[in-house]
Assembly symmetry: C2
Homo-oligomer: 310 residues x 2
């Protein structure tokens, strides 16, 4: 079975890490959100790509989920000393990644090509694809105006009330080489437990991606557990947009894309409604606290996928 | 007495440091070469400005003369790991300087304004001015083609034989705010023991600077001692350009700009020829190995200057 996983952020990276423990590089391709990418302090920063690659490469910071393990903060200390912005936490080793990526982008190289080479350097044999090589920045509409995603997410700590989102240039962007091809060759798509609004929607907004995904059996894993997001602003966003934050709302979000849905034991009361839509469900412990959790959940999701298409 | 010093590189920074020990911020303005500045790994790097500011701020690496003390190399290790260029040694704390400078330049701020703010952050009360806010990169003509300065200087370790230099855009560049003004208010100019070809000539190439300097009494300190450069390729450049590397050649280089010339005891045989041109000379120990050497030489140069104009 060939799988494509759509992912972004720390929750997505954890399930990807679990899936990688059970699958060969031929069986799993990962398509990653690039809506969070931005230019900062001269550098091109791709938070979701890096979180997933650092996690797969076994070099991620295990406490935070983002950034690198064994990190130092000496460059950023100087930026602060000079009165510059230190709200986006860039470690010295992480900065090395951004410097080399920025160098190659400046020379005209593509993000997908650079990511492929970085993966090789980190011993990652899975194909990790940015959904697009084009710049498609996510903007967050809030009651106080439109804010670039990272300013909303990190600088403002998700405090402004959200009224909507915009994926700038998405309509004119091109899927990165391999994105549509991997979907064409796939038997199934897994939507990771990432933020539906700002991690998965920006992937689906790239022309062709939603249609290709729609043509395949799709299983989503809910990032909302008991009405709360494990990490990040997904639940807060649902509330501010006038939708009750719940697994059911995540299910409704993806609508008729889905053929299967994975939700937490705590949300079992919501299963009946979903099943009446003819959708298969897997109810299990979806919280991934340890590496074992990641592998266990990934195995259950994979078994669920196999049952779904057989 | 108000002085303007023209400087670039480690030798220049040493004399500036010595002068700063004897003068108030009102008495000394430093105009710095920007021909070495370049874009690398996404960052805007200004080696001469940083060497002079780090030295004046007491935060320079005392062994190398360039870069910061108490430095680490973690970002650059990652760049190497990813197959990127590590020939230009960027330390983590140094990178912080470049990141904040690049951020502000990207927002449209000027190099002179940024440098002024960085000096305040580092407790430097002397005015340190980049000679221009425009991009005026030095190119080195060699037998194997034209090479950007840092590639010649660092990547190729000054190995290619030099046939000439080009200061790109110099004719259309504007002196940075304060450059001509400080010369207008000055009583005297000191040309530091920096490389005449690639540290001082690029300063004099900015429109207006040579004329303003020429209208003032000028003292130059030879960077060549006993036919050799203390550091860097000045002597090698003279040889390759068919000129004997010597204090006399440095004197001839600056030609009729000069009113006084400072050279090392070892070069005393060259004094007579210079004096016959009606130029005052100071013959002393010009090698600056220790902080005491810097202060001692600076004091002697200052006394020489005072005598020259009285």
């Amino acid at each position: 079975m060939r799988l494509v996983a759509l992912a972004g952020g720390v929750g997505g990276a954890k399930l990807i890490d679990g899936l990688a423990a059970h699958l060969s590089p031929e069986e799993l391709t990962i398509i990653v959100n690039t809506g969070d990418d931005f230019n900062h302090l001269g550098l091109r920063i791709c938070p979701d790509l890096d979180t997933i690659c650092y996690t797969l490469g076994g070099i991620a910071n295990k406490e935070t989920g983002w950034g690198r393990q064994d990190e130092s903060w000496r460059a950023l200390e100087i930026v602060s000393e000079l009165g510059g912005p230190n709200w986006f936490r860039l470690g010295d080793r992480d900065i090395g990644t951004h410097m080399e990526r920025t160098r190659r982008l400046t020379l005209g190289d593509s993000l997908s090509n650079i990511t492929s080479d970085f993966c090789k350097a980190w011993g990652i044999w899975f194909t990790v694809l940015p959904v697009t090589d084009d710049d498609v920045p996510t903007w967050v509409y809030t009651e106080t105006g439109e804010i670039p995603f990272q300013e909303y997410f990190v600088y403002h700590r998700c405090e402004p009330r959200v009224t909507g989102f915009r994926f700038e240039n998405a309509e004119s962007a091109h899927p990165a080489p391999g994105v549509l091809e991997s979907l064409q060759e796939a038997d199934m798509v897994i939507i990771c437990p990432s933020n539906p609004w700002v991690s998965i929607d920006p992937i689906l907004a790239i022309p062709g991606v939603r249609q290709y995904v729609d043509s395949l059996p799709v299983v989503a894993v809910s990032p909302i557990i008991g009405g709360k997001a494990v990490k990040g602003p997904a639940a807060k966003m649902y509330t501010e947009l006038g939708i009750e934050p719940s697994s059911l709302s995540v299910y409704n979000h993806y609508g008729n894309l889905l053929d299967g849905f994975v939700l937490d034991n705590i949300d079992i009361v919501q299963v009946e409604h979903i099943q009446t839509q003819g959708i298969k469900t897997l109810v299990t412990n979806t919280l991934m606290k340890t590496p074992d959790d990641r592998r266990r959940l990934a195995k259950e999701v994979l078994d669920f996928c196999v049952n779904l298409i057989n």
